[in-house]
Amino acid sequence: MIYLLIGGLLFLAIVTFVQIIRVSELLSKIRNKDVNEVTENDNNIQGKILLVVGFGFLVFVIWQIVAWKHLILPPASSLHGVEIDSLMNTTMMLILVVFFITSIILFFFGFKYRGIKGRKAFFYAHNNKLEIVWTIVPAIVLSGLIVSGLKVWDSTMNVTSENSQIIELHSRQFQWAARYAGEDNILGKHDFRLIDRATNPLSLDKGDKYTIDDKITNEVHLVVGKPVMLKFRSDDVIHSAYIPHFRVQMNCVPGVRTQFGFTPTKTTQEMREDPQIIRQMQELNDRIDAMSLIEKTVFLDENFAKTVDDLPLKFDYQLLCNKICGSAHYNMKMKFVVETQEEFDTWIAQQKEVGGLVLTKK
């Protein structure tokens, strides 16, 4: 039935088009002109539409910035993230300015110089001075960007694990696990051949003395202001550990060691009091409120593994998987908590050591 309907609509559309074309052809025959010749009138109309739609697009861009500004990530919650943010803001301002200027010129020129019969265009083949100017100016601006960029890049990527708390993030389809290095702050060895999903899911070397005090958890707690070094591992495909609020991202590649060190600067509690976060959560909760009870239950269960009792939802840092990794890629995530030293100490004390005994988590 539905196909019949679609077919019918398509047929109607085609008939309409043919009729439109026919009519315009007939009209132009009467006026003794080729329908498809672009006339001065066309130039006039299209030039004006270009101006209107072009500026409409620019207005649309401004509208998006105004309407959606609060939806983007709040300022970074990490030391290096602040530097990234400031470079990002500078770059963003710069490209917005260039974007608006060049777009306005483009649409305006299109409109201004729309063709008029009899006018002759200005024969202007080249001007070396001009061209040199717009080679050099971008070159200088870009040098500025790249120099400050490389500074930030260097300081972000060349972090050593000295003084950092070492945590291993282990990824597999489709879940994350964390391993704390324990008192000695040294991770025990692992070898993928030791895998045993039931008793040793992280394929740890139980004979290694550093393994004993390691702790396996399914969420990550960090101490505010204290550097951490995340070490990444994957058991199957490439995953990517993406923690947007910290401006942290690194691929987890099977067979390759990768790492990312950073220092969190805002506790989860502080984030929950951030005006932008409050607004974002407010919108999310409003949306949930508008649902029926059944919808709510399903929505909360599917997306958050929560129930109606947990409403209203509160903000948490999230680690997302950011490299296509299979069917549940979109749902591969882990909670991060940033807290004070005391809170952390209580939490970590409750976590069981690997202890060479049972290596199962949960």
Partner: protein, 583 residues
């Protein structure tokens, strides 16, 4: 080409034709068909994103095992299959073969004044390899385990092991077969383009007088010939890993709870090889569009293109630089930070020739006498998207800024605007502009306008908001919104609305295209009053292009509105007047 007049059967004329114009049309039709397939796929996954977990009649276009038997919703891994096929089809089939294949074949002999390509036979082979590739790719959609689903970049290990995702079984094998055929076809085509341009230019057509379209197609062909073989070697090793159990890219894997035997390989190696092709590939897509835009803008502003020499040099610079920037796709793979710095530096260098091009386009518009054909509108839109998308490249290319937007929708927005839209606009500009030469008839102007405005509005409506999704931290290739990002649903709804509207609007073009082939108003020999040689050929398209002698070239292609001339255009085959200087 002494055999202009020998009898042609239907088969040699329309199917196994060796005439470059017919081969061009074959590429174009296949390209349009694949574009529609790719577009329908995108409509499907956009519908899923707007209504996650719900069914839609669109899904019925796909095999029934793609849907959940109870709810009729699209399965999670089939969402990825759609994304993968969409990317593959658009990047390779539409914007590489459909674009270069069509216009290189059509324009090179016509604009340089040659009777045909250097080797008509190789040219024909090139199409039929492409055709075979198409058949295999389409077939792979219908195998029970589904087509390749590891993203168009097919990173192993995901693409290497069927237990990681279903599509990495037979579907992936077919993908690799298909892409191999595709590469062979592209290489054969590319060889021919280069040799034709180097050898078969007519008298007087020095490299300095080549139209910019030809320059662009020339650089494109060189990029292709140098980079596609690397993809082939990259794919070959993947085949070994997948089918013969070697360990080039694989190591430390756990498959089905057991340790696999692979050891010592590295997926990063694959990424290096892949992106060594991958980045030049994006310019293979873009450059022909830039070339055609230059041509269309110059013809329709009735002005010479501003800074011809700078345009050529920037093409060459972009072509060269595109081989040393591939690492910017891999900043987050844990590569040596110093190497990252080098790639960030080279990447931002590319912005300079790009900027030159934009400013030269703008100056070309200045004080022109613009004739708004649909082609011209698409060319202007192309400049607009090139600006918008190129600028976000400055963020992605600056390594530290990439940390937080890599693999998010910000990247999706960037490359769809700068590559997807620019190249599609360039291609459409080309179709509208050269349609009269291809089919001897005009496309309907008013439907063209309708198509243009609809496309322009919808396309920005789809891709601009994606930047905000990315800045909100939404990763790409997600089946549904993750966790506490419920608040971005609005943006997703807007995108899907424009995506569906934009898809529907493309049917105006399809209708106009086919209607005009048969019923369009007859075209005159040179409907746009253009200078290049193709417009000196007769309307009825003949084997060998020109009856009698080849035209001789006396000037560059851009003598529009030259002071002292009567008309506002002087075709390239008109001798210089006494005392007239070139340029």
């Amino acid at each position: 080409m002494s055999d202009h007049h020998h009898k042609e059967t239907f088969i040699t004329k329309y199917i196994f034709s060796q005439d470059h114009k017919m081969i061009a049309k074959q590429f174009l039709l296949t390209g349009i068909f694949m574009a529609l397939v790719g577009m329908l796929m995108s409509a499907m996954f956009r519908v899923q994103l707007a209504n996650p977990g719900e069914t839609s009649i669109l899904y019925n276009l796909m095999p029934s095992n793609w849907m959940d038997p109870d709810t009729g919703a699209l399965l999670q891994d089939k969402y990825l299959a759609l994304v993968t096929m969409h990317g593959t089809i658009l990047v390779f089939w539409v914007l590489t073969a459909g674009l270069s294949g069509t216009f290189a074949n059509f324009l090179i002999p016509l604009q340089i004044g040659a009777r045909d390509m250097a080797s008509g036979f190789i040219n024909m082979l090139s199409y039929w390899f492409f055709f075979a590739a198409t058949v295999v790719l389409i077939y792979s959609i219908y195998v029970p385990s589904g087509p390749a689903s590891a993203g168009w970049t097919i990173y192993p290990p995901l693409s290497a092991e069927a237990s990681y995702i279903e599509g990495s079984g037979l579907g992936m094998t077919l993908w690799l077969v298909s892409i191999t055929l595709f590469i062979v076809g592209s290489l054969l085509g590319g060889l021919n383009y280069i040799v034709t341009i180097l050898n078969l230019r007519t008298k007087g057509m020095s490299m300095k007088r080549l139209p910019l379209t030809i320059w662009a197609l020339f650089v494109t062909a060189i990029l292709g010939v140098l980079s596609f073989p690397v993809l082939l070697s990259c794919g070959l090793l993947l085949v070994f890993d997948r089918s013969f159990g070697t360990s080039f890219y694989l190591s430390d894997l756990i498959i089905g709870g057991e340790a696999a035997h692979h050891i010592g390989g590295s997926p990063i190696l694959f990424e290096h090889l892949f992106w060594f092709l991958g980045h030049p590939e994006v310019y293979i897509i873009l450059l022909p569009a830039l070339g055609m835009t230059s041509e269309v803008i110059s013809v329709n502003t009735r002005k010479p293109i501003f800074g011809y020499q700078a345009m050529v040099l920037s093409l060459l610079a972009i072509g060269f630089l595109s081989f040393i920037v591939w690492g910017h796709h891999m900043f987050m793979t844990g590569m040596n930070p110093f190497l990252g710095s080098v790639f960030a530096f080279t990447t931002l260098l590319i912005a300079i020739p790009s900027a030159i091009k934009v400013f030269n386009y703008l100056t070309t518009l200045w004080r022109g006498n613009i004739r708004f054909t649909p082609a011209m509108l698409f060319a202007i839109a192309m400049v607009s998207t090139f600006i918008t998308g190129g600028l976000t490249g400055l963020i992605l290319g600056n390594a530290p800024l990439d940390i937080n937007v890599h693999d998010t929708y910000f990247v999706v927005g960037h490359f769809h605007i700068v590559m997807g839209l620019s190249a599609i606009y360039g291609m459409l500009a080309g179709v509208y502009h050269w349609f009269p030469k291809m089919y001897g008839r005009m496309m309907n102007k008013n439907l063209g306008y309708l198509h243009f405005w609809g496309t322009f509005i919808c396309a920005y409506g789809v891709f601009f908001p994606m930047h905000f999704l990315g800045l909100a931290g939404l990763p790409r290739r997600y089946y549904a919104n993750p966790v506490d990002m419920g608040q971005i649903t609005d943006i997703n709804d807007i995108i899907t609305f424009f995506a569906l509207a934009g898809a529907v609007i493309q049917f105006i073009f399809v209708f106009n295209f086919f209607y005009s082939i048969f019923r369009g108003s007859p075209a005159s020999k040179n409907p746009w009053k253009a200078n290049t040689l193709e417009w000196t050929t007769p309307v009825e398209r003949i084997h060998g292009n020109w009856p009698g002698d080849l035209p001789e070239v006396h000037r560059w292609a851009y003598d529009y509105s030259k002071p002292g001339a009567e008309e506002d255009y002087i075709p390239q085959n008109v001798p210089l007047k006494e005392g007239e200087s070139e340029h």
